[in-house]
């Protein structure tokens, strides 16, 4: 399914160092008492996989031990995008002369990795002018050509010394990207210091989860997922928590999304996107129902188009889960495909009326919500 694993900044920077990409000196702590002596201005940065870290107060400065400890303490008390901050990166504060944006990402339209360089970094990236942004496709069969490096250097108009450094950084970034199965390697900003050195002040590394087995050394313990989403993931199911009321269980991502879309026509919103995938195992259906029940939806809507997945198997799974888990909320089932008659009979015996038409099933689920 090709999900993605984002490394926390510190792990990303460790990878950078391994590939010879310069980063600020720093260390990670989960207890402010472990902060060492402070002799120069330092950054204190929340290590969470969530956007908006800066705006949420997750990035601070300090020049004395007291300031740094205080900042670290405050950050460790934060929740950012609903996530408790459990660790903090303490690192030297760079003397910024200039900021650049550099990233390598997998582009789906061009079907190739793309190097992007913006002649302006940091928070300002979003406002960059078109002529400040340059991209190059990098073909893995030949790698990052010198000619691309030359064009990048010309775009940035760097002095000699940092130019040489940048060409090394770009080559190594490509190597990291390709060898480590990355979906994204981003340096935002790549800082040119007042001393004339290039240093990656931030590191965002996203690894292709389908390739994670090749990189057992990487520390993937944090994901940008809710605990329930993570639990589903570990059980091999794709679950997304939403902010509505109806738990939708369907087979196939497209069909699940289509079901959620259709609910909205009846003014109902989903609580859960749960893709059963292609299975014909009653236990998997039960497991899906168990996850579903944990999300506490007001109504459950099951939509199965049976092919590999047999309809009767699903029916059995739903009934078994309802009974074993003691699910009391309404379950609306729409079922089509292989063995649909048998499924309908079994569901009916179990007290559930199966719909044939998806539109009708959605309408029913939405109406149950209003009764609620």
């Amino acid at each position: 399914m090709g999900l993605a694993l984002m490394l926390i900044e510190y792990s990303g920077k460790e990878l950078f160092r391994k590939y010879g990409i310069p980063t600020p000196e720093g260390y990670i702590i989960n207890d402010p008492k472990k902060i060492g002596s402070v002799s120069k201005p330092m950054m204190i940065k929340a290590q969470v996989q969530a956007g908006g870290r800066g705006k949420a107060g997750g990035i601070r400065f300090g020049s004395t031990l007291e300031q740094v400890q205080k900042a670290a303490n405050e950050i460790l008390d934060l929740k950012i995008s609903g996530k408790a901050v459990t660790s903090v990166l303490i690192e030297e504060r760079l003397n910024v002369f200039r900021e650049i944006y550099v990233s390598m990402t997998m582009d789906r339209s061009r079907r190739l990795p793309i190097l992007m360089i913006i002649n302006q970094g940091g928070m300002d990236v979003e406002s960059a002018q078109e002529e400040q942004v340059k991209t190059w496709a990098v073909h893995p069969f030949v790698g990052l050509g010198d000619y691309i490096v030359r064009e990048a250097l010309e775009h940035l108009q760097l002095d000699n010394a940092p130019a040489k450094q940048l060409s090394e950084i770009l080559k190594q970034q490509w190597k990291l990207f390709w060898e480590m199965d990355c979906e994204l390697v981003e340096m935002n900003p790549l800082v040119q210091t007042a001393e004339g050195k290039l240093v990656a002040a931030d590191a965002k590394v996203v690894i292709d989860e389908d390739a994670a087995y090749r990189h057992p050394e990487l520390d993937f313990h944090e994901f940008d997922r809710t605990p329930l989403e993570q639990e589903a993931r570990e059980k091999g199911l794709a679950l997304v928590e939403l902010d509505g009321d109806i738990g939708v269980l369907a087979n196939g991502a497209g069909l699940t999304m289509a079901t959620l879309d259709l609910l909205s026509s009846f003014d109902a919103r989903g609580r859960v996107f749960l893709d059963l995938g292609g299975t014909d195992d009653e236990k998997v259906v039960e497991q899906a129902m168990m996850l579903m029940s944990k999300a506490i939806p007001k109504v459950i809507l099951v939509n199965i188009f049976g092919g590999i997945t047999k309809c009767d198997t699903v029916a059995d799974g739903i009934l078994a889960a309802r009974d074993s888990l003691g699910i009391r909320i309404p379950i609306v089932v729409r079922i089509r495909g292989v063995n649909e008659e048998e499924a309908g009979l079994r569901l009916k015996k179990g007290g559930i009326v199966a719909f044939h038409e998806l539109d009708l099933a959605c309408e029913k689920a939405a109406s149950l919500l209003k009764e609620d």
Binding site: M1, R108, A253, G254, D261, L263, F305
Partner: protein
């Protein structure tokens, strides 16, 4: 089209659970399945199909020129490279969870060697005339003149069923796969359907993520003479969440359903708001 009267199909990973089931189903659909391949299982038979140890042996013995791949993700790259080096012209990759890097390598190597890759993580092709290569449920199809191209699996079956029930038959149905990196794009298939004499009109089934539908809209505007109708899944999906597979994600405002729907409408494509709305759009085309 990707399948024709000369298509001789090989099933890689035929002795696995999925491979065995779908090889049989392909045979039942009238597909010219000529061989199976599983290393170390050469000489055995699956549903009357002889199994070979390697693609080369299977090709030498049977003249196979296309393959459907059911092997596990970790060995999929090797299986596809073997198929390409074996001289096959079309490889349908059913396997899911293939690392993007491996997908990219197989697609580009196929391009170099003149081999079209469909997928990975795709349901394959169903042809009204030549059977199927992949896992689409045969029973929902009905012969006819509507071509279908889709990024989705079961959602497509939903729409095909609706068409068949409404009396609208299909010429060819191609699922390109839900992963972000796929070997055959919506545009590639649209080009094929445009030049396919069996196809009169086209259903495009898209979903959130990427800009493939927007690019398809441009192509439709410029080069399609046949009418196209569409359905796009994910109108209510929240940004930043991957809805089940790698492709379906809205990021930084790009990849939204509304952007895709707007682009398609701009290209003269009628867009249905639910899968069940598609047949009516096709009927409207025919009766115009």
């Amino acid at each position: 089209m990707l399948m024709g009267p000369d298509t001789k199909v090989l099933v890689q990973g035929i002795t696995g659970h999925q491979g065995e089931y779908h090889a049989q189903s392909m045979l039942d659909a009238g597909t010219n399945v000529v061989a199976g391949v599983t290393p170390g299982r050469g000489g055995s038979k699956v549903g009357g199909v002889l199994v070979y140890d390697s693609v080369m042996k299977a090709v030498n013995a049977t003249g196979a020129n296309a393959s459907v791949v059911f092997v596990p993700a970790r060995v999929a790259l090797d299986a596809v490279l073997e198929a390409i080096d074996g001289g096959l012209r079309t490889v349908v990759v059913i396997s899911e969870h293939i690392p993007q890097k491996d997908a990219l390598i197989m697609i580009e190597y196929g391009r170099l060697k003149g081999c079209r890759i469909l997928g990975p993580n795709c349901p394959g092709i169903a042809s009204s005339r030549y059977g199927k290569m992949g896992i689409m449920p045969t029973q929902i199809f009905k012969n006819g003149r509507t071509g279908i191209v889709s990024r989705s699996g079961t959602l497509t079956y939903e729409i095909v069923s609706a068409l068949s029930e409404a009396g609208i038959g299909q010429s060819t149905c191609i699922g390109i796969g839900g992963d972000r990196i796929v070997g055959t794009s919506l545009i590639d298939v649209l080009e094929e359907l445009e030049s396919d004499p069996e196809t009169e009109n086209v259903v495009l089934v898209g979903e959130i993520g990427g800009t493939a539908e927007e690019e398809a809209a441009l192509m439709i505007k410029k080069r399609m003479s046949k009418p196209v109708v569409a359905y796009i899944a994910g109108r209510t999906a929240p940004p930043g969440k991957r809805m089940g597979h790698a492709g379906a994600i809205i990021s930084r405002g790009a990849g939204t359903a509304s952007s895709k729907i707007e682009a398609l409408k701009g290209a003269g494509v009628k867009v249905a708001l639910s899968p069940s709305g598609i047949p009516a759009l096709i009927i409207a085309l025919i009766t115009v």
